[in-house]
């Protein structure tokens, strides 16, 4: 069902936006993700995901101030919507539930 389903990468991006609070715009999200996941992430991919998340109504955006480092262009800041938060919580619940059903898994051994 489009609108509620969260892909893995989408979930990470959404979490990052939530983590960045007020400073979440495309390049910052990208930097943050690279820092935490150690994955090679292209800006184009982030852009596409942000666009998709906004289409699904999980984030909303507003234009910020223009900066010279952006060639006089404004930043677009993203914040997680209530639906986005609900989707994150739901996704975490599912995982928690699945985790709880694994008897005696010692994470330290992994």
């Amino acid at each position: 069902m489009k609108g509620t389903h969260l892909g893995e990468f989408e979930e990470i991006v959404l979490l990052t936006i939530a983590g960045l609070v007020d400073g979440a715009y495309s390049v910052a999200v990208c930097d943050e993700l690279i820092k935490h996941t150690k994955r090679v992430i292209k800006l184009g991919v982030i852009h596409a995901v942000l666009n998709r998340l906004e289409e699904k109504g999980l984030v909303k955006s507003k234009l910020g101030e223009a900066t010279s480092e952006r060639g006089g262009k404004r930043k677009r800041y993203y914040t997680v919507t209530t639906a986005g938060k609900a989707a994150l919580v739901k996704s975490k619940d599912i995982r928690d539930e699945l985790w709880s059903r694994i008897p005696g898994l010692n994470l330290n051994r992994l």
């Binding site: 852009h47 596409a48 952006r70 677009r76």
Partner: protein, 876 residues
């Protein structure tokens, strides 16, 4: 640091991004890319940063970033279009003269365009109802005899068709047809003349002519089977059942084996009835041993259907091989056969022996070309007048640009305006089209047989597309001109705008328009004069008051007796054909030298023929022996025949009594006639021989009739005719009328070109009128100042009209010699006999155009010259 900020991402990549990217995403992308660029600049250097920028621009080229093409779902575009339409409407209403000139001009020219479009659409939809239209091919022949011109025929020999059908694989089915099935069908009391085709049983398999009753597979199988169209069946049988009835044609009984739906208008095959081909084979194999000869290519038509995946090239190659082996049996003659696709048939006007109506592709191009010239001329008006009023409109464009209009918006605005004008013109031209359709069709019976010009939804869509296209063409130049206007210049000081920079363009457009107008009108005048001279040309005999009656196979004896009794009838003669109308009958003859034979044109006449037509006898006399059916001994010849065979050494007297060989007979020359026109004026005078025929079945009778009570005499003739032939109406025509008909094609061409020249002149005049109005308006102040300084009206008129008159003279200098040379070398070269061109003819058209243009220019400039300078100068 300063160094770093001055380094830019590649400009073209930036431009590419803003070109493809959706406007709502553009700022984000540009910002992101720029940020990354600045970052890369620091860490990786300028070169690498620029490279990455370019790569990223291409990476962002994804479905969700690409601007949606088209206008439909774009709100701002929609609003813009609404605004274009609204402001265009206002502008049209404000500039009524401009709009009126353009709408009328475009409407007049577009109605020709509509005629041509519907004409072409009819031609291209010929035979479209045939289900197998892409697979049907006709076998056509090219006959080359050594020493004679090559003949291209739509017909081919039955032998060839049969051979191909039997020996060459890759053909699905074959149909054989012949023309000339016609006659009077009698069923019970009713007798109806019907004409149609002979066709074999696969006719309905190849062609999609649905049968209402009867079995399509067998209807044309047995000899003396007849398929009637609904219309013919109704004429013969009324509403009663026709299938299975027996009808009589000539002496044979036919059985009706099918009723076909009426033949659509746009079919190259037209018939009222079909008779089975096997009838011919049964009848003619006895009479005509030639039927199955390879070289008998004149009367039979063969059509093939190839299978769905068939290859015409392969079949053609096999046919070529067949031709080579068959031609080996012929002496001095080669017959080449080729496959012609069904859809091409209508445009193959050059083939002889056509089975239905066709048109020469050249005529189509010429007609289309003429229409194009007229339409372009009207577009020129629009372009010219639009640019001419740039003084007033450029301020508007300036404001638009200040408010934020881009080049594209200005272009859009002006194109919309011109398209609206041309759509308005379409409404008028559509009405004109409906009015012109009937006169166009009745120009000539040929046009009527060829097309119907019926409207269809597709055609109307075509008309609208045509109008939009015309509007676009008319509007594109002004649109580009206005979109390039510099805002600062216009708003600062309008007078600095280089309006006159385009003066040369405008002037040359006017010259082009007038050149075409002059070419058209001079062609019309010269053509008309030549046409009149054809009709009144001294043919070498008199055609006055001679009524030619086609005997339609009836015997003359009783009829002539009855005619002689009618008051006003002076003399009656008989002849096999009527001279000077284009029909020719001939054979070859010999004089003393048995090796020297040459063609001679013939007519069989009776003893009254020469006196009725007042031929000038140079030597000898009329036929003295008049055998009704006995031994033919005498011939009357023309001077050209003496010259060709060197008879009599230049003196006709010496030729009398000389013996010539013709058709295995020895005839002595009884009289020599002064040369006269046996053929039309297109043909040179050839050797002609009159032979005597006392036959009671000559073809035509020629009645010299002189009476003030013509109608009464004609009524009496009708009465007499009905006594000998109840079925066919009397076919009597005055000789002069027949000559007019023989040249009717020229009359049609002259009418068409005359119409075009009328249009071209009207359009050019309107354009010139508009130009004069705008230029005089613009120069009003100058004129006023000149007036104050003491200039007279005459000098002012001369001053203002001079430039326009020069343009007209330039057009004349181009147009008149061009037309003259065209007539001398192209048109009149086709006529062996014609009047020489006269200078006065060429100048008539020029005078007409000058008078019209001069009046217009004069009136407008006079108005300006008479204006009160005080009022004009006070205004500012």
């Amino acid at each position: 640091m300063k160094n770093k900020t001055s380094i830019h991402p590649p400009r073209w990549a930036e431009r590419f991004l803003s070109w493809y990217c959706r406007p709502e995403l553009l700022e984000d992308l540009q910002g992101d890319l720029h940020e990354m660029f600045v970052r890369n600049l620091r860490s990786k250097g300028a070169k690498k940063a620029r490279f990455i920028y370019i790569v990223d621009v291409f990476k962002f080229f994804k479905p969700y970033t690409i601007r949606k093409p088209g206008l439909s779902n774009n709100l701002s575009q929609n609003t813009m279009i609404k605004s274009y339409i609204k402001t265009s409407g206002r502008s049209i209403i404000r500039h009524k003269l401009f709009a009126a000139i353009n709408i009328i001009g475009l409407a007049i020219s577009m109605c020709v365009g509509l005629l041509v479009i519907s004409f072409l659409s009819d031609l291209y939809s010929y035979d479209n109802f045939q289900e197998k239209k892409d697979r049907i091919y006709r076998l056509i022949s090219t006959d080359s005899n050594t020493g004679q011109p090559v003949m291209n025929l739509a017909s081919s020999s039955l032998a060839a068709g049969r051979k191909i059908q039997q020996t060459i694989p890759g053909i699905e089915s074959t149909v054989f047809m012949q023309r000339g099935f016609s006659g009077d069908i009698t069923a019970g009391e009713v007798t109806v003349p019907v004409s149609g085709l002979w066709a074999n049983e696969s006719f309905f398999n190849v062609f999609s002519f649905p049968l209402l009753s009867g079995n399509p597979a067998t209807a044309l199988q047995k000899p003396y089977s007849l398929v009637l169209t609904e219309e013919s069946a109704k004429k013969i049988f009324g509403n009663s059942e026709a299938l299975g009835r027996i009808v009589k044609l000539d002496t044979n009984n036919y059985i009706v084996t099918g009723i076909a739906r009426d033949v659509p208008k746009l079919s190259h095959l037209q018939f009222g009835a079909l008779a089975s081909f096997s009838t011919i084979e049964q009848k003619r194999s006895n009479e005509d041993g030639n039927l199955m000869s390879w070289a008998n290519i004149y009367s039979n038509y063969t059509y093939f259907v190839l299978p769905e995946n068939g290859n015409a090239g392969v079949v053609q190659a096999a046919i070529d091989r067949l031709c080579v082996s068959e031609n080996a049996n012929l002496k001095n003659r080669k017959i080449r056969l080729s496959l012609e696709p069904l859809k091409k048939i209508i445009f193959d006007g050059h083939l002889g022996n056509e089975i239905g109506p066709t048109i020469n592709k050249m005529s189509v191009y010429i007609l289309g070309g003429l229409a194009l010239i007229v339409i372009i001329s009207a577009c020129f008006n629009y372009t010219n007048l639009s640019i001419a009023r740039s003084l007033s409109r450029s301020r508007e464009v300036g404001i638009r640009k200040v408010i934020g209009a881009l080049k594209g918006h200005v272009v859009g605005q002006f194109i919309t305006e011109s398209i609206i004008i041309s759509l308005l013109a379409l409404v008028f031209s559509f009405i004109l089209f409906l009015l012109l359709r009937t006169p166009f069709l009745s120009l000539h019976a040929y046009v009527q047989s060829l097309v119907s010009l019926q409207l269809s939804p597709k055609l109307v869509l075509g008309f609208i597309a045509f109008a939009v296209f015309t509007g676009f063409i008319a509007g594109i130049l002004p649109a580009l001109f206005y979109s390039r206007i510099s805002v600062l210049q216009v708003l600062n000081n309008v007078s600095t705008l280089k309006v006159f920079r385009h003066v040369n363009l405008r002037k040359s457009l006017i010259v082009v328009q007038y050149t075409f107008s002059l070419i058209f009108i001079t062609t019309t005048v010269i053509g008309y004069n030549q046409y009149r001279s054809f009709l009144t040309y001294d043919l070498g005999f008199s055609t006055r008051n001679i009524l030619n009656i086609n005997m339609q196979g009836n015997k003359t004896g009783v009829f002539i007796k009855e005619l002689s009794a009618i008051p006003g009838v002076r003399e009656i003669s008989k002849s096999q054909l009527i001279s000077s109308l284009g029909s020719i009958y001939g054979t070859s003859m010999k004089y003393n030298d048995p090796q020297d034979s040459a063609g001679v044109q013939l007519n069989f006449i009776d003893e009254h023929y020469l006196t009725v037509h007042q031929y000038k006898i140079l030597a000898g006399k009329n036929f003295s022996t008049r055998p009704s059916n006995g031994q033919e001994t005498e011939a009357i010849v023309n001077e050209q025949l003496l010259r060709r065979f060197h008879i009599g050494k230049g003196d006709p007297q010496n030729a009398i009594g000389e013996i010539v060989n013709i058709d295995g007979k020895k005839l002595s020359i009884a009289g020599v006639l002064k040369d006269f026109h046996y053929g039309t004026l297109e043909n040179k005078i050839e050797p002609v021989m009159f032979r005597y025929s006392g036959n009671d079945n000559p073809g035509y009778i020629n009645v010299k009739i002189e009476t003030p009570h013509l109608t009464a005499a004609l009524a009496a003739m009708n009465e007499a005719w009905r006594n000998i032939d109840k079925l066919h109406p009397l076919d009597a025509k005055f000789y002069d009328v027949q000559i007019e008909e023989a040249y009717s094609m020229f009359s049609v061409i002259i009418q068409v070109i005359g119409f075009f020249s009328f249009l071209a002149i009207v359009i050019a005049s309107m354009g010139l009128f508009g130009m004069v109005v705008y230029t005089t308006e613009k120069r009003l102040k100058e004129i006023s100042i000149r007036k104050v300084m003491g200039a007279g009206e005459r000098t002012l008129i001369y001053l203002m009209s001079k430039s326009f008159l020069i343009l007209l003279i330039i057009s004349a200098v181009i147009a008149l010699p061009a037309t003259w040379l065209f007539f001398e070398n192209v048109v009149l070269a086709n006529f062996a006999y014609h009047q020489p061109l006269r200078l006065s003819e060429a100048l008539t058209g020029f005078a007409i155009v000058m008078v019209i243009a001069g009046t217009m220019i004069g009136l407008q400039t006079l108005k300006a010259a008479r204006s009160n300078p005080a009022r004009v100068l006070k205004r500012e």
